[in-house]
């Protein structure tokens, strides 16, 4: 069982390093890295602090501390993914509105240009 906790700890460290590296290379914006870094840090903490795992397991009525850790990990990633889904939805709405506005502005600009170029037809 200890090996599983070690695996989670290594996974958490890899996640944190990976996210930090992506931020450094500007592949991920800082504001979107925070959720992943928090999730990674929480997982690392839980994988090293067995007393906390056991306490959470006892509070949830679970016999095994690792199952409690797995549940916490699942919950953490669920929350991160949900936050990102919200963000993506908002960005998609903004993108659609912007695309429509750009098209409309170009259309009206073209109409204005035509008026300027052919004043006799006004």
């Amino acid at each position: 069982m200890d090996r599983l906790f070690d695996v989670v700890a290594v996974f958490s460290l890899v996640l944190i390093v990976w996210v930090l590296s992506s931020v450094r290379r500007a592949h991920i914006r800082v504001e979107y890295s925070v959720s992943w870094l928090l999730a990674g840090a929480a997982l690392l903490l839980l994988s090293r602090w067995r007393t906390l795992d056991d306490w959470i397991a006892a509070s949830l009525g679970i016999s095994d501390g690792f199952i409690a850790l797995a549940m916490m990990a699942g919950a953490a990633f669920f929350i991160v993914l949900y936050r990102l889904s919200l963000r993506i939805s908002g960005l998609k709405d903004s993108s659609i509105t912007l695309a429509q506005q750009v098209a409309i502005l170009e259309f009206r600009l073209e109409a204005l240009n035509e008026k300027v170029q052919t004043p006799a037809e006004r």
Binding site: I96, A99, Q100, V102, A103, I104, E106, F107, R108, A111, K115
Partner: protein, 247 residues
């Protein structure tokens, strides 16, 4: 000569715009524009090009339409809403949507316009089924229509014969609503629920439908399951926001 969209705003008393959403319809769009010009001479025609990869934009312009060119592909709902937004901003009173694939017969535009001008409704649906004229519908689509008819009846409080028809006309009141709120994918069915939420009314008039002239429907057999789930979810979400029916 077709009047330009901008000229029509300043010259016509009750202004009609024919809106043609098009995506990769270079082989059909010119014919549709030509038919619309013959059916309602002098009416401004706006083709909304959903970032086609082919020559749709050029063909539409050459045929005498004005083109609203989207900078990237938005899908049918975003494409139609862009046209509605422009029409609303330019002060049009009625907008009739005709698909760019040639399935809708532009000779029915006056029928839809007459129904709109009666003033008893905010939206008119050109229906394949009011007069049992649904001969050009695939079995898959026909099955979907039957399903959605049954689902929509209790929500709308009245029957709707052809809920997936894209041959629709809207008044300025509905135009204002759809400029702000319009379903982005597979919009026809959800749009009915959006209308109902605002206590707006719709009527159906019999219209002729034809087979597609070119290309293939965006709703293939593979996509139909996704379509059903998407539309059901969209209707469900809109029903949750339901604000009551017109008394």
């Amino acid at each position: 000569m077709t009047r330009s969209v901008n000229q029509a705003v300043s010259h016509s008393a009750k202004r009609l715009l024919v809106l043609i959403p098009a995506f990769n319809e270079e082989k059909a769009v010119a014919g549709v524009v030509g038919e619309v010009r013959s059916s309602v001479p002098g009416t401004p025609i706006l083709v909304v090009d959903d970032c086609s990869a082919d020559g749709t934009r050029g063909e539409a312009k050459a045929a005498g339409a004005q083109v609203l060119a989207l900078p990237h592909h938005l899908g049918l709902g975003g494409c139609v809403q862009a046209g509605y937004r422009l029409a609303y901003e330019l002060g049009f009173d009625y907008v009739i949507r005709v698909d760019g694939d040639g399935q809708h017969d532009p000779r029915d535009i006056p029928t839809i316009l007459n129904a709109l001008q009666q003033g008893d409704c905010e939206m008119v649906i050109g229906s394949r089924f009011v007069d049992e004229n649904g001969t050009h519908t695939s079995w898959l689509r026909a099955a979907g229509i039957v399903f959605f008819r049954a689902m929509l009846r209790p929500i709308l409080g009245r029957p709707v014969h052809d809920p997936t028809s894209g041959f629709v006309g809207v008044s300025r009141t509905a135009l204002e609503l759809f400029s702000a709120t319009f379903p982005l994918e597979y919009p026809e069915i959800e749009a009915l629920v959006v209308l109902q939420r605002k206590r707006f009314r719709f009527v159906e008039v019999p219209c002729r439908f034809r087979p597609r002239r070119t290309g293939r429907s965006t709703i293939t057999a593979v996509k139909s399951l996704y379509y059903m789930i998407h539309v059901l979810l969209g209707v469900f979400v809109n029903v949750l926001k339901f604000e009551g029916r017109r008394k």
